[in-house]
């Protein structure tokens, strides 16, 4: 079975995308047409109707022609060990993607795709981030063909031939490794409520409230709304305070609502399965995504939680692999899970979620003092300045003190542990994050210090790990020099 050809007979010249590509591709054209539309509107406004029609007509004609040409010239060949994509009219390019190097096969369905039984198939190879959208994307193929291709790739990549039908249909019955029901999705949505959105809403209602006739922070808004009930209206008019509270409530509801809707759209029907080769995640309400994360490509696990989620015992589990999950960097494999559920997912990969409790080591206290001393000085200066500037300076002093206390709290909650061949790093106090990294996945190791940290006798260890983003570093922020050397010895000299 190992040396049979591609599963479906392919013609010599390769396959084209599904003809309905012309339809699904239109969406992208329309999205790119804003410039032409604006230009046309402007011309129409000026009275040059002919010119406007000409502009829009030529734009539409050109775009459709470009789509047709793209469809006509785009061919892909599914071979035993690689996918070859030939495209281009004037300058033709031929790309070969060896299945050995494919990290993920994503199947994605937009609303239009779902209506027509189509799918977008994307092969992630973990190549340079710049060319990410370009590599190995088949915009429109039939859903069945997409499934076939994925099964073929999976089987090749493992180097063993399994019956693809048995794998997929067997999975449908097997209980999922982790799944979220509607209630869980909605709870996740509540936590997705973002202060940033709220701030934007507040700002917008203040700035444009008069323009769009919606400013819940103004008395006019409520008096209009409450016109039916005269006493209530009078009450509102009399108490500015009430309007502010009511307005904040309205904006709060909008903020929470946005979070709920966004989460519902993304996480609806969340289901994670353990397949032979890795983890398979399916989710989405309108746009269904189906992502496979091969176990041997998973670099590290990240367990993250915020202050409120923690209070209710919730946590998020992400897997950092060579491929990136859109803008996210890491694949979320459990958006909102109990610790034991996260543990089950980790265990299914043969990895632990926590080290033996004896292995934890705290950070060097220099982490606190190196920051607290300058902050204390600043607070002192601010306090003295009160005499000149007035009580505002006291506020600044309080701010500096608070920053020092936060630094201390972070130090309390940050620690690391090396247990067997797994390295655990806990970081943060407000938003807590635990990175779980197999020692074999460390690509490089930096020990850095500078004149200031040397004064307090600590260094920082920073680990190079594949995938993810630079925003989430794998680092032990403060560790004495001797400990750093010892740890480095244990991590690398094996």
């Amino acid at each position: 079975m190992t040396d049979d050809p591609a599963p479906a007979p392919v013609e010599q010249r390769g396959e084209r995308l599904h003809p309905l590509f012309l339809l699904t591709g239109l969406g992208k054209v329309i999205r790119g047409a804003w410039g032409a539309l604006a230009g046309g509107a402007y011309l129409a406004f000026r009275g040059d109707l002919t010119l406007a029609v000409l502009l829009l007509g030529s734009f539409v004609g050109f775009s459709v022609a470009a789509l047709v040409v793209k469809w006509w010239t785009f061919r892909f060949h599914l071979e035993r060990d690689e996918l070859r994509i030939d495209q281009g009219l004037v300058s033709r390019s031929s790309r070969a993607i060896p299945f050995d190097r494919v990290t993920d096969v994503d199947i994605e369905q937009g609303p239009l795709h779902r209506l027509l039984g189509l799918a977008r198939l994307r092969m992630e190879t973990g190549a340079s981030a710049g060319a990410k959208d370009q590599e190995g994307t088949l915009e429109t193929v039939s859903l069945a063909r997409a499934g076939e291709i994925r099964d073929h790739v999976r089987a090749r990549r493992r180097g063993i031939a399994t019956d693809p039908v048995a794998e997929t249909s067997g999975l449908a019955e097997a209980p999922p490794l982790f799944a979220m029901d509607m209630r869980r999705v909605l709870i996740a949505g509540l936590f997705n409520f973002s202060l940033a959105i709220l701030a934007v809403l507040f700002g917008a209602s203040q700035t444009f409230g008069d323009l769009i006739g919606f400013d819940p922070l103004s008395r006019a808004f409520w008096s209009g709304l409450l016109a039916q009930s005269a006493p209530l209206q009078a009450y509102v008019m009399a108490h500015r305070f009430v309007t502010i509270v009511a307005g904040s409530l309205v904006l709060g509801v909008i903020g929470v609502g946005t979070g709920l809707v966004r989460t519902l759209l993304r996480e609806h029907g969340f289901r994670l399965d353990r397949t032979d080769s890795g983890l398979r995640r399916r989710r989405g309400l309108l746009t269904l995504t189906d992502v496979t994360i091969p176990a041997r490509r998973i670099q590290a696990a990240i367990l993250a939680t915020g202050p409120i989620r923690r209070a209710f015992g919730w946590t998020t589990l992400k897997m950092q692999s060579l491929a990136s999950d859109g803008a996210q960097g890491s694949h979320v494999v459990a958006p909102l899970a109990r610790l034991d559920e996260a543990e089950r997912i980790q265990h299914s990969l043969g990895r632990p979620l926590a080290p033996h409790a004896d292995h934890w080591r705290g950070l060097s206290f220099g982490y606190v003092t190196s920051m607290a001393i300058p902050l204390a000085l600043l607070a002192l200066i601010a306090t003295v300045a009160t005499a000149v500037v007035g009580p505002v300076a006291l506020l600044a002093a309080a701010g500096f003190t608070l920053a020092a206390v936060v630094r201390w709290a972070e130090w309390r909650h940050s620690r690391y542990a090396l247990d067997g061949d797994m390295l655990f790093i806990d970081h943060g106090w407000w938003r807590q994050r635990r990175s779980i990294l197999p020692v074999a996945r460390i690509q490089s190791l930096d020990v850095t210090d500078n004149a200031w940290t040397r004064l307090f006798g600590f260094s920082r260890i920073r680990l190079g790990v594949a995938g993810g983003t630079l925003l989430v570093p794998f680092a032990i922020d403060a560790i004495t020099r001797d400990d750093a050397r010892a740890l480095r010895q244990r991590l690398l000299a094996r």
Binding site: S444, L445, A451, L463, Q489, A493
Partner: protein
């Protein structure tokens, strides 16, 4: 198998100081000229206007004369059969270790300045997002090529 991380740091070629010196000059001389021009046309009217070209001159002077030998003195590397260690900097000190088996690919590069002094850089690419490119400057070209071949042999051994 437990082995130790090598501690015997070797210096790079002394010629590297001249490369650094030239680089600093290329960076600072235009800035110095700019500050002089600015002083000549605008700043002379201010009482402390002369401070800008003065500071620029001091920085330029020290980074051309004094800094290169310091950077050179603090730069060292060590190799054994499994890993390369690169130590650099004093004010901001970095001690990097890259195990050979983790190397994705290796370049030996040499720019016009390096060529002037017969030097080459060894550039090691890892899969890590942080430290994806680790550079060891100031090597003799044959030394750089020898290290490259050693790492390449190690990568091949790991692949088999």
């Amino acid at each position: 198998m437990t082995a130790t991380i090598p501690d015997d740091l070797q210096p790079v070629e002394p010629g590297y100081r001249h490369v650094l010196r030239l680089q600093a000059a290329i960076f600072w001389v235009p800035l110095l000229i700019g500050s002089l021009v600015l002083y000549h046309f605008v700043l002379f009217e201010f009482r402390f206007g002369v401070a800008l070209p003065l500071v620029a001159f001091l920085l330029a002077f020290s980074s051309v004369t004094y800094a290169p030998s310091r950077i050179y003195r603090r730069l060292g590397y060590a190799l054994d059969e499994r890993l390369v260690r690169i130590v650099r900097g004093w004010l901001f000190h970095t001690d990097t270790i890259v195990p050979f088996v983790r190397v994705q690919h290796i370049d030996v590069t040499s720019g016009p300045l390096d060529k002037m002094f017969g030097l080459a850089n060894l550039v090691v690419h890892t899969a890590g997002t942080h430290n994806s490119v680790v550079t060891l400057p100031g090597l003799r070209p044959d030394r750089a090529a020898a290290i490259r071949d050693a790492i390449r042999a190690e990568i091949r051994a790991d692949a088999e």
